[in-house]
Structure formats: C-alpha cells, structure tokens
C-alpha cells in the first residue's frame, strides 16, 4: 500500500540525529516523515552520558561541533524545552607528563578554534575543586562545555519537529528501500510504502545495512560504553570531569547522583537489542572513581547500563551525501560523541538537502573514505574490549 501522502524526505532512525534533521527540514518547509523501528530516542541517544564536551575533539570537527554547541545553548528557543541543559564546564585531567603533553596539544587545537581553555596547575586545582584526589599533574578547564539530559532531549526534539509539521512514525521498521527513477520508495514492516525525493540514513548502529542496500560498505561495528550511577548525595561536583586516559569520565547532576562512564567499551548485541555491562568493568570504574574523588568511596552505585553505539575504525562518523546515490544522505557511526554534535549534524543535513550545500566543512566524514583502507585509530586497541567486533 502506498501511504496517503508522499514526503520530500524520509528519515530512517529517530535518534537525536534523525530527529534534529527532521526538525530542521520541517522548519524549511519540507514534508518530512521520520520512521523508527522502536520509539524515538530510546537507543544511544536516550541512554548516553549526556556530555556536550568541546575539549579534546578531532580537530576537523570543531566547526561542526561549535555550531552544534550554539544550538544547544538555544535549546528552549529552538524546541521549547530546556532538557536540563547545563553549562557546567569540563575539567580535563593529566596524571603524568606524557598525558600533560597530550593535554597541552588538545588545548592548543581547541584554542585555535576560538575556545577559551584555562590551564590549571595542581595547587589551583586543589583550591577550586578540593574534592579531587589522585595525582593530577595538570588540568585544562573549558567553561563552555556543558551537559544535558539525554533521556529528555530526543523526544522533545521529535515533538518540536512534529509541531513544525513533520510526521513521526514509531514502532515501524524500514525493511527495504527501492530506487524509483530519481526518487525512493521506502517500505516498512507495516507494509506501507512511502515515496520520497531524499532519504536520510540516520539508523545509528544499524545504519550499515541501509548503506549496503545502496552498495556502500562501511566497517561499522557496534559497542557499548559501560556507565553507572550512584545514589544522590549533596551537590558539590559542578564541572564534568575526565581523565585523559578515559578511566574516569564523570559528572554529578544537581539532583545529586554521580554518573560515571569509563573505557574500555564492551560487546553488545544489536539484533537482540542488548548491551550488558560486565561487572568487572563496573568494579574498575568504581576503583578509578574512588581514587580520583576519595570522598565518593562511601557512596553507593545503584545501577549500571550501556547502549548500542556504532563505531568506525578511524573513530570518525559518516556524515554527508552518498557517494553513489543522489538524494541519499548518511549520518551514522558517531563513535561515542554524537550527542554533542547531533543538532549540528541535523542542521547541516537539512542544508545539504534543501540548499545542496553547507558552509560547515564535512569532508573528513565522507563515506567515500572507505573506498581505500583507512588509518585505524590508536584508540581502537586501547578503548575497546578485545571482544567487541572491531
């Protein structure tokens, strides 16, 4: 059956990226239909750590990342809900001289894109953040970094997209997409056929299948960063805190709970939709957290979780037009940092679709880079469990 009305664009995937894309397209007057196999914002986008970190990103991503941050900073204006966006700052910590060199290198890059990075020595650190234990030799602080509540954001963006005119279809899997001349026919498991001019593949860790339907192979693999949360206790830790080796990525929400994420990432099952957390990872995270913030040792962990995130071997996402199919656009493989850039990705895609181009450089994220073997990131060995499928 062909659905009553066709669309200018169909977005496959109602994560943060798909929902922002639908939102911006609808605002540009496009007829947009977004389809998700589950409910919006229930996968990576709804379970992530909530960091909107600007420090230490891939240099070529700064224009996109800063554009995204400006959107986050205007969240209530854009979608009408604040979603606990909190400009809490981000503290990056080096525990030895090697790490300090790395930290200084990151800071230099960040600063060159106009980010305000403050270098904080050990003495000042103790004064400003007296709960820090451990042997921190150097730190950088970025005040513009922020956090938001991932559980709230994506549904709020989807609601705003709907108000702007987008059609949101939940609990419906896209099973097949046919090329019809210059158009597409998107087929769902419900038996609906939705004709459209443009197609966005924002299917998260499941997106490689859709790219493959159009002959584009990517080495996407799923993995889950283990997280845990503690019981609430008085709010004292304002910035989000990260050691440069990734053993501790933590923040305290104003309600009082401490959330921790830490490498290495673990194996997940995107078919069974499971992301189990091995207890050994939880214990390792607890140990490192207790070392870094000794006052937390008597605080209790109440729950662990993870999510199904798509990774690529160079630790960079795919964002942009398909290399072989005009009208098809990809945005997936966000390698654990798609929450921050999500709104920017949606905005850029809407420009690519409506205007045919965007001022934000996206070249490093072209899908065509996989035509040749890509340089594998050194993070792959360090930050992933050997049992992940990479």
């Amino acid at each position: 059956m062909t659905a009553g009305r066709g669309a200018d664009t169909v977005v496959v995937g109602g994560g943060l990226v798909g929902c922002w894309t639908a939102f911006f397209l609808a605002r540009r007057g496009q007829r947009v239909t977004l389809v998700d196999k589950g409910v919006v914002g229930a996968q990576s986008s709804g379970v992530n750590f909530g960091n909107l970190r600007l420090q230490g990103r891939f240099p070529g991503q700064y224009p996109l990342s800063l554009r995204a941050q400006a959107l986050w900073e205007d969240l209530p204006g854009l979608i009408g809900e604040p979603c606990e966006y909190d400009r809490c700052g981000h503290l990056y910590l080096a525990m030895n001289d090697d790490e300090k060199r790395k930290l200084d290198g990151y800071a230099e890059v960040s600063a060159s894109y106009g980010l305000d990075i403050e270098h904080v020595g050990p003495a000042a650190l103790q004064q400003r953040w007296p709960w820090l234990g451990g042997k921190v030799v150097a730190a950088t602080y970025s005040a513009r970094d922020a956090t938001a509540n991932p559980r709230l954001v994506t549904p709020a963006v989807a609601r705003a997209a709907r108000r702007a005119g987008a059609t949101i279809i939940e609990n419906t899997r896209v099973t097949e997409i046919e090329r019809r001349g210059d158009d597409f026919l998107v087929r769902t498991e419900a038996g609906d056929d939705i004709p459209c001019r443009s197609l966005v593949n924002a299917a998260g860790a499941w997106a490689a299948d859709i790219a493959r339907w159009f002959g584009e192979d990517t080495p996407l693999f799923p993995a889950g960063p283990p997280q845990f949360v503690t019981e609430p206790f008085p709010y004292r830790i304002v910035p989000s805190v990260q050691t440069i080796d990734g053993t501790v990525i933590m923040r305290q929400i104003p309600r009082g709970n401490v959330i921790l994420a830490g490498y290495p990432r673990t194996a997940v099952d995107p078919v069974g939709n499971r992301a189990p957390v091995p207890p050994a990872k939880t214990l390792a995270g607890m140990y490192h957290l207790g070392q870094l913030v000794p006052m937390l040792r008597d605080c209790h962990v109440i729950r662990v979780w993870s999510g199904i995130e798509g990774y690529l071997p160079d630790m960079l996402p795919v964002i942009g037009a398909s290399a072989g199919t005009p009208g098809l656009f990809h945005a997936f493989g966000f390698c654990g940092h798609g929450f921050q850039i999500g709104p920017g990705v949606g905005l850029c895609l809407s420009e690519l679709i409506v205007d045919g181009s965007t001022a934000t450089p996206l070249d490093p994220f072209a899908i065509s880079r996989f035509d040749r073997p890509v340089a594998v990131s050194e993070k792959l060995g360090r930050e992933f469990d050997p049992r992940t499928a990479h």
């Binding site: 409910v39 919006v40 229930a42 709804g46 559980r151 709230l152 549904p155 989807a158 609601r159 709907r162 949101i168 939940e170 503690t230 019981e231 609430p232 189990p276 957390v277 091995p278 207890p279 050994a280 939880t282 214990l283 390792a284 607890m286 140990y287 957290l289 207790g290 937390l296 040792r297 008597d298 605080c299 209790h300 962990v301 109440i302 729950r303 662990v304 979780w305």
Partner: protein, 463 residues
Amino acid sequence: MMTLATTRVVIIGAGPAGIRAAETLAQAGLRPILVDEGRLPGGQGYRRPSAGLALDMDALLGTQAAKYRALHARFAELAPAIDYRPETLAWAVHEGTLHVARDGAAATLPFDALLIAAGAADRVFPVKGWTLPGVFTLGGAQVILKDQGCLIGRRMVFLGSSPLLSLAALQYRQFGADVAAICDTTPLREKLLAAPALAPAAATALRGLGYLARLRRDGVPMFSGTTPLAIEGRDHVEAVRFRLGDGEERVIACDAVAFGYGLKPETQLAELAGARFGYDPVFRLWGPNLDADGRARPGLYLAGDCAAIGGADAAEASGTLAALALLADLGGEVTHRERRDMPRLRREVARYRSFQKGLARAFAWPGSRGATAIADEVELCRCENVTAGDIRAAIAADLGPVDVNRVKAITRCGMGRCQGRMCGPALQEIAAAASARPLAEVGRLRGQAPVKPLAIGSAAAPA
C-alpha cells in the same frame, strides 16, 4: 569432566528454600557455597532474633514454631558440610560468575550451577501519606519485631490486603501493641468466592481463619472491603482515613501503620542470570519461566518465593526439588531418592502455589481500579519523589511513553535507590490505566546490576 565432588554450586539465600537445597546437595556429597546478605540463617518467615535477644519465639510463631525450630536445627547440623557465607550480598551474575560483596570488599564466586532462593519482597500500593514516618511495609514491621524485638508503634493500624495482615497483627498484640484496626481492602464477598481455591492447602487456610477468630475474640476492630483514603499526620502518622464498603468514612487514630498487598518474587538476580519472564494474570506480575522442578535454563535453578510465591512450606519443598533436579542434571545416575521424592515434591509445590493463587484472589491487589483511583498528588516513587500525576502527564504528552522502562526514563520513577522494587508493581498499573492498555503490554522494569546498592570503595584495583 564435571564430577559431583568438583562441581561448584552456589546457592543464594539461606531461607527455607536455600537451606533445604543446601542440605540435599550436601547429602549427595557436594559442598555448596551458601551466600546470604543477612547475619543469620533462616530467611524471612523463619528469621531468628539477633544474638543476645531473648524473644519468645514460641509465642511469636505459634503453630509455626515447630517448623521454625526444625529448620534451624537442620541448618546447625548441616553447617559443617557446606560453605556458608553470611553478610554476603550477591550483586551481579555474569557469565558463570557470581559477584558478591562482603565486609566492604567485592569478590567473585565462579560456579558451574547456580541456585537462587532469594525470597520475596512486600508489594505496596501507594496511598496518600504512605511516606510519612511511622508507616512500614507489613513484612518490614515483622522483620523489626523478629530481628530486633522492637515495635513500630504502640497503637497500630494494619492496612492493605494480605494473609500476613492478621498474622502480623497477632504478633504485635502478643508483644504489647494495641491494634486499633485491621483494614482489609478486599470485600468479604470476594473472599468467600475465593474459598474453593483455598482447598489445596486446607490446613494453611484454617490456620488463617484461626488468626481471624482470635483477633475477633480479642475485640480487635476488623473491616473488609475498605478503600484507604489517606494516612494522615504532620511529621508522623496520626491517623488512617478510609471508606467502608457502604460508603461511610472512618478515621482511626494510630501512631504506626503496617501496610502491604502480599508479596512479589525478588527476581533481579534471576534476570541477570538469564531467566526468561512471563506475565501472570492472577498475580498481575511478571515471573520467571520455570519447569516444574525449578529449572530456568541450563545450570540455573530457582526455588522458594523468588520462583513463585508459595510460602514457607512451598519454599522448603521447592528447595529440595530444585536441588534434586540439579543433581539429576549433573548426569549422575538417577538415584532412588530422586525417583521416589521428585514426583511427590512436584505435587506438593504445585499444590502450595495453586493455594497462593487462591490467596491472591481472597486478598486482592488493587489493580487497575485502584490505580485509577490514586489522586494525582500521591507520591508513587519515594526515592525520586515522582507522583502518580507525573506519570500520567508524561504518558499523555505528545510522543509520550507506554512501556514502563520508557516511563521511568522520562519521569525518573523507579530510578532511585531501590530501583523500582517498591514502586514497580504500582507503576505498571498506573501506566497501564493511563495509557488504556492491558497490563502485560506496558511491560516490567528491567533489572540491572547491582541488585542492591554497592559502595564505591568496595572495588579493589583491577588486575
């Protein structure tokens, strides 16, 4: 190859089910590890008073005293033959390893087979004022009495619907409390209709009637078919307000309330260990899928109230049965004992559990009608201060959630320290009523490690 002597079996829970399972395994030549987070063996129903406390357990347990003594005598005899680890919390199960914490330190126990006998927890249904100091769950009130010899108040109201309502009231009276009222929410008419379903365990049913007769003889005010309206008080419980079946409103002064609506299996560990779950329309709960002997999957066995609510007698029988099943699965020859005992035990367990289904009707869970009646301002999740109205508003929103795990993600209901153990069943009812779906369709809160809070400082440096 796995032999009996080298097979590592871990049992979680030293209540009647776990003790009987350990005994059966030890008799077959195994030396199981028995972990329990409590200080003393015995579990809930047969909880032993803390050391140095001379409680008159005969008075407290009445007709159950002999079974209580027998179980503790069994344990004393058994102790040297097993590896018993009290004050040891099981907090996760993952790929053949049980993760425990004891004395503030985390440790691991690899196993070949796991037998979970973690018991049950109180099932509560919120009423305005239920978070006031002085309000306890029914089981909690019993625990305080048995464990510490303390009363939760001097003038008590017992509220809800549960066979333990009258038992607990009697126990409190025995220790000097004044019972101001027992307010059962199930109408007498429904209790009578459920009577035939209680036949499978006539003795137990008669025991329950005996409790009621004693309370009546002692002049304790008892009401059935009540609708609780509020637990009132400024900083502490001062009164219970409720409506009688004929519409009359009553206020009864008291300084403590024990309330509950029966029990629900503690299933988080089973879930982490890979058990599958099914919806039970009688209890309106999700329970583990098991065969008649308690097998959940290869190497995983469940017994006692964590498998299905059955009470202490069913716990003992199902503990023995699950252990015999485990032994049979180890591939040893089927012993005389298995051939002789397993069919009898199966019948016994089935009988007790079907009796519990009868009880579930005689002491009804408020269900969807109760959920609809809860006022918006009533707090549902006391850890995160989420009200019934918050749940309804989230569900009514555009693109609002249906599944309870999504409701939790949006509202924080069930996200706190108890992880929904307290509010989960009522959350399911409110979510189903608010979204006009059958209860089974809104799902159940998924369990995750740690099944109980775990101190950050209990982790040692990773290897």
